[in-house]
Assembly symmetry: D2
Homo-oligomer: 302 residues x 4
C-alpha cells in the first residue's frame, strides 16, 4: 500500500502544471502549487502517507461537510432541509443565478449559498469555539487552528458571498444576523488542516460516525448516510457528476487544495494539492483519487 | 385644460381598484390607494392641478433621474457610462440575474443595480445634504424633506438591494463604501415630493435644463437629452416599451406611486397614485398619462 | 419477501391520490392513475411480484438508459462524452435554458437534450428494429413492441423536443438528420414494457452486464458502471439528489409511470405507477422504492 | 446636403475596419466589407445619395418592420400584441433563453422569435408573392427580388431559428405550420434592397404612412406610430438603448448591413455597410447615422 501510494503520488505530480492555485483570494494564491500529499487511514487502524501530507492548509469548502454535520446533529433533518435542498445545481459553487432564478432556497449544502444558510442557523447555537472543537474531534486533530491571515484575506474579499448572504436574507432563508453568519462561515473555511486530518475525518464517515480508534460515536448513523450521499452527488462543485463516474467515491473538495474522500466501511482518504482545475478542484488530487479508486477497486459500482 | 385634467382624473380613478399599494415595504403599504392627483406645468408658465396633487409621498425610483443628473453633471458622460449601461434590461427593477449572468455592469441607470452603482461614486463627492439641495432646486420645491419613517422602513427591508450592492462590489463596479452607497441610495428614494414637484422637474427637463421661471440653467443640455432618452426607453421598469407605444413620452415611475413625465419643449407632468400594477407602476397614473398624451397629441411620434 | 412487497404496495397506494398522470401527451393522460405494481428479481434467480406488475405501459425516459447503453457499446466512452456531459443539471428534464445558457453540450444523457443527442449519432448505426431487439434482450422481454398510439400522440406533441433537437443542431452537437434522430428518440420512448421487464433490466445492470439466467454478457462491465453512476446522480430528473438521499439506489424514472432501479450485485427492481409528482416521477413508485430500500437496507451508504 | 453626406461617408469609412461581415451565413460573409452607402429622401421630394447607395443587399432583419406593418394592417393591434410583446429584451437577437425563461411570448417584433411568430399568422393570409408586392410598394422599389443564393444559404443554416419556431409552437404562440412560417420569415429576410429603397420606406414612415410622391396612403397612421416607437426602443438589437441615446432616431438594422432610419415628419434614411459590430449592426452605418443626426439636429430630444 505504501509503495502504491508513492507511485500514485508520482503520477499525480504530472498533473500539477495543468492547474493553478486559487487566485480570487490573495493569501491562497501564494501557496506553493507543487505541494502534493495523500494520506489513507484504513478501518483496521493502519495509516499510510505519501508526500506533503503534514503540511497545513485551509480547509475551505470541505468545512461544508462539518457545517452540515453540526446542523443535522443539532437541528435535525427536517429543519435543515426546510432551508436547503439536496439537489446538485449544475452551476459553479459561487453562483447566485440559480438561487434567484429557479429556486426559493439553495440547491444543496455543498455550495456557498447552502453552507451560508446553514451557518446562519448554526451561529446562535454553536459559536466558533464550539465549531472549532467539533472540527478537531471529527478530524482527530487537536492542532487545527484558525489561519488568521487567510481569514482576514477572505473577509476582505467576501463581497460575492456577502451578496449571496443578503439575497438569502431577502428570501427569508437567513433569519439571523447576516454578518455574524458570514463571519462564522468564513472562519470555518479558514481552519488549517492536513491531508492526515481529512483522512481521519473520512474514516469516521466511512465507519458510520464512530471513531474507530476510540470506539466513540461522534455522529449519528443517519446523519452520516445523508452526508456521504450528498458528498457523492454534490461534493466536487460542478464536476461532481464527472467525479462520481470516474472515481465513484463520496468526496468534498476545497479551493485550498484539499480533498476529503472515503471508501465506505473501508478507509478515509485525505489529499492536499493546491494546484486547481477550472472548477476549483485539486487537479493532481483528483487524479490521485481516481488512480487509488481504480487500483483498489473502490468505485461504488465497481 | 383644467376641465380636461379633471375628466382625466375621473377616468383614472376607475383604474385604482385594479392595483394595490407596494407591499414589500410596510410603510408604503399603508398609503391610501385611492389617492390620485395630477399636475401639468406648461412652458408658458401655467400650472394646472387636479385631485391629490399636493399630497406628499416618497419619490422612490424617480430619484434615479436626479441621481443620474447629478452623476452626469459631476462626473461626465464617459465616466458614468463606464460603470452603467444604457440598455433596457427586459427584467424587473430589482433583478440580480441579468446582472450576474449576461452583463458585467448594470444594464441602465433606471434599475436598482444601476442607480446603486451611481450612488456609490456620487457619495464621496455629494453628500446627502447636497443631494437634497440639488433635488429641491430641480423640483422647485424647498419643502422636500427626508421621510424618516419610510427611510427607516426601507433600511430594514434592504437585503435585496444590499445583495445587489455587494454583487456590484464583487464585480468591481462599486469601489467605495458599500453601506454608505446604499444609505445614500435609500435616502434619496425616501425624499417626499408632490405631483407638483414632479411637474416642476418635468418642465425643467422639457426646457433642456433651464428653469423657465427664473431662466437659470440647472442642467447641461447634453445631460438632459441623455436623461430624457433613457427615461423613454427604460423609465417604466419592464413596462417601458409598452409605455413608449401607448403614451410615447419620457417617463419615470416609482413604487411610491409617483410618475414624472414631460412633453418635450412643452410641459412637465407630475402624477401621484399609489395603487400599482404588477410591474410597480401607478395603475391609474399610467392611464391618466395615456389619456393626456392622446388628447393633447403629445406622443413623440404623433 | 412476497409479503413484504404486498405491504409495500399497500403503503404505496396511499400516495397515489397526491399525484396525477402526465398531461402533456393526451395518450399518457388517459392511463388509469390507480395502477400500481412492483417486481423484484434477485441475483439467485427468484422473482417476486405485487400488484399491476404485468400491465404494459410506455417506457418513456427509462429508454434513455438503453439509449446510453447502446451508444457506449457502439461508439465508446470518449465519443459519447464528447457530445454529452455527465453532470446533473439542476433543471427540469425538458429544459432548454441550461443548454443554451451555461453549456455548449447537454448536461447528461438522462435529460431529453442529452438523449436526443445520443439518438442522433446512434440512428445511422442502429435502426429502430435493432434498437427494439436490443431492448428486448436487455429486458428479457420478447413481447416489447412499439405502442403506436402513444408514439403518434408524442409525434404530434413533439415541438419542445424538436426545438431542443434543432438547438443541438445549431450548436453542432447533432450532425445527422434531425427529424430521423427525433423519430428514433420518440419511438424508443414509446416501447411498451412491464414492471417485470424493468426488474429484468435492473438485474442485468446489478450483475455488471451479464444475464444471470443464461450467463450471457450483454453489456461491458465498464459501460454498466458508468450507467449505474449516472442513474444514481441524474436518473430521477431534478429530484435525483433527493432520491439519492432517501432511497440511495441507481434509478431511472419515466413519465409513463415506470421506475427502473437496482441494488448492485443483489437485485433488479421494476415499478409501475402512472400517478406522477410535479417533477414527473411516479409518486407511489418512489415511496415503494424508498420503503424497499429502507426495509432491506439497500441504500448505497446503508 | 450633398456635400455633408459625402463628408459623413468619408468619416464612416474610417470605422469599416473595426467590424466584419456576418459570418454565420456563408453567403453573407462573402460581401465586400468596404461597401458603404447612404441615401436621404426628404419630405419635400429631394433625394441625396453618397457611396454605394445603389448596391443590392439582403434586407435581413429590416424585413421585421415590413412584417410588423403587414401584421398590424391585416390583423390589428390587439391580435398582434396578444402574440408578441413590445418590450426591449436586453438580449441578443437570436436568444432563446429569455423566451423560455422569463416570458410566455416573444419580447417584441424586432427580434427573431417575435418576427417568426408574426410570420406564422401572416402566412395563411398573405403569401410570399403578396408580401413581396407589399414590400415593393413600401420601398417604392419594383426591382426588389428574392436573393435565391442567400435564401438557400439561410435555409440550410436555419437550425437556431427553427429551434425558436418549435419552441414557439410548444408554447402555443405558433398555431400554423411551423416550416411554412419559417420559410416565409426567411424569404422575407432574403429580399434584395438598396440604401435608396430603405430611404424610401423611411420617408413613408416619416410621413405617417403616406407615399409623399403619389399622396397614396399605404399604412394607417396608428400602425406607423407603433412601428416607429418599437423601432426606437427595440430596432438595433441589444444596442437599441445606446442608439437611442447617441442617435435618437427610430432605426432598424439587419445583418446584411442595412439600416433603415427616419427623422419623423422630415426625411427617410437608408444606409448600407456590411461591416458589422459585435451586436450585428453596421459599424460604419451607425457612425454615419450618428453624425447625420448630430449635424442636422435630428435627435428626438435635440
Amino acid at each position: 500500500m505504501q509503495t502504491r501510494l508513492e507511485e500514485i503520488l508520482e503520477k499525480g505530480q504530472e498533473k500539477v502544471p495543468y492547474g493553478k492555485t486559487a487566485d480570487y483570494i490573495p493569501e491562497l494564491g501564494r501557496r506553493d502549487p507543487n505541494h502534493l500529499g495523500i494520506c489513507v487511514f484504513t478501518k483496521d487502524g493502519k495509516k499510510y502517507q505519501a508526500g506533503d501530507s503534514q503540511i497545513r492548509f485551509t480547509i475551505q469548502s470541505i468545512s461544508k461537510v462539518i457545517n452540515l454535520a453540526a446542523a443535522l446533529e443539532q437541528r435535525g433533518f427536517d429543519y435543515v432541509f426546510s432551508k436547503v435542498g439536496m439537489e446538485p445545481s449544475g452551476e459553479a459553487f459561487n453562483s447566485l443565478v440559480e438561487l434567484d432564478l429557479t429556486s426559493s432556497y439553495p440547491f444543496n449544502p455543498m455550495i456557498n449559498s447552502g453552507a451560508i444558510a446553514i451557518a446562519s442557523f448554526l451561529q446562535p447555537i454553536m459559536d466558533f469555539e464550539e465549531m472549532l472543537d467539533f472540527s478537531r474531534r471529527l478530524c482527530m486533530d487537536p492542532e487545527i487552528t484558525l489561519d488568521e491571515a487567510v481569514c482576514r484575506s477572505e473577509m476582505s474579499h467576501a463581497s460575492r458571498n456577502r451578496a449571496i448572504a443578503y439575497l438569502l436574507e431577502s428570501k427569508g432563508i437567513i433569519e439571523n444576523d447576516v454578518e455574524k453568519s458570514l463571519q462564522l462561515y468564513i472562519k470555518l473555511c479558514s481552519l488549517s488542516v492536513t491531508a492526515e486530518s481529512l483522512a481521519n475525518l473520512g474514516l469516521i464517515l466511512a465507519c458510520g460516525g464512530i471513531n474507530p480508534v476510540t470506539g466513540e460515536r461522534l455522529l449519528k448513523e443517519d446523519v452520516v448516510r445523508v452526508i456521504k450521499t450528498i458528498m457523492f452527488t454534490c461534493g466536487m462543485y460542478d464536476g461532481s457528476g464527472t467525479s462520481a463516474v470516474y472515481v465513484g467515491l463520496p468526496a468534498k473538495s476545497g479551493v485550498g487544495g484539499g480533498i476529503l474522500s472515503l471508501a465506505d466501511k473501508k478507509m478515509g482518504i485525505g489529499i492536499y494539492g493546491p494546484s486547481l482545475d477550472q472548477k476549483g478542484n485539486s487537479i493532481a488530487g483528483q487524479e490521485m483519487l481516481r488512480l487509488l479508486s481504480k487500483e483498489l477497486k473502490l468505485h461504488l459500482f465497481a
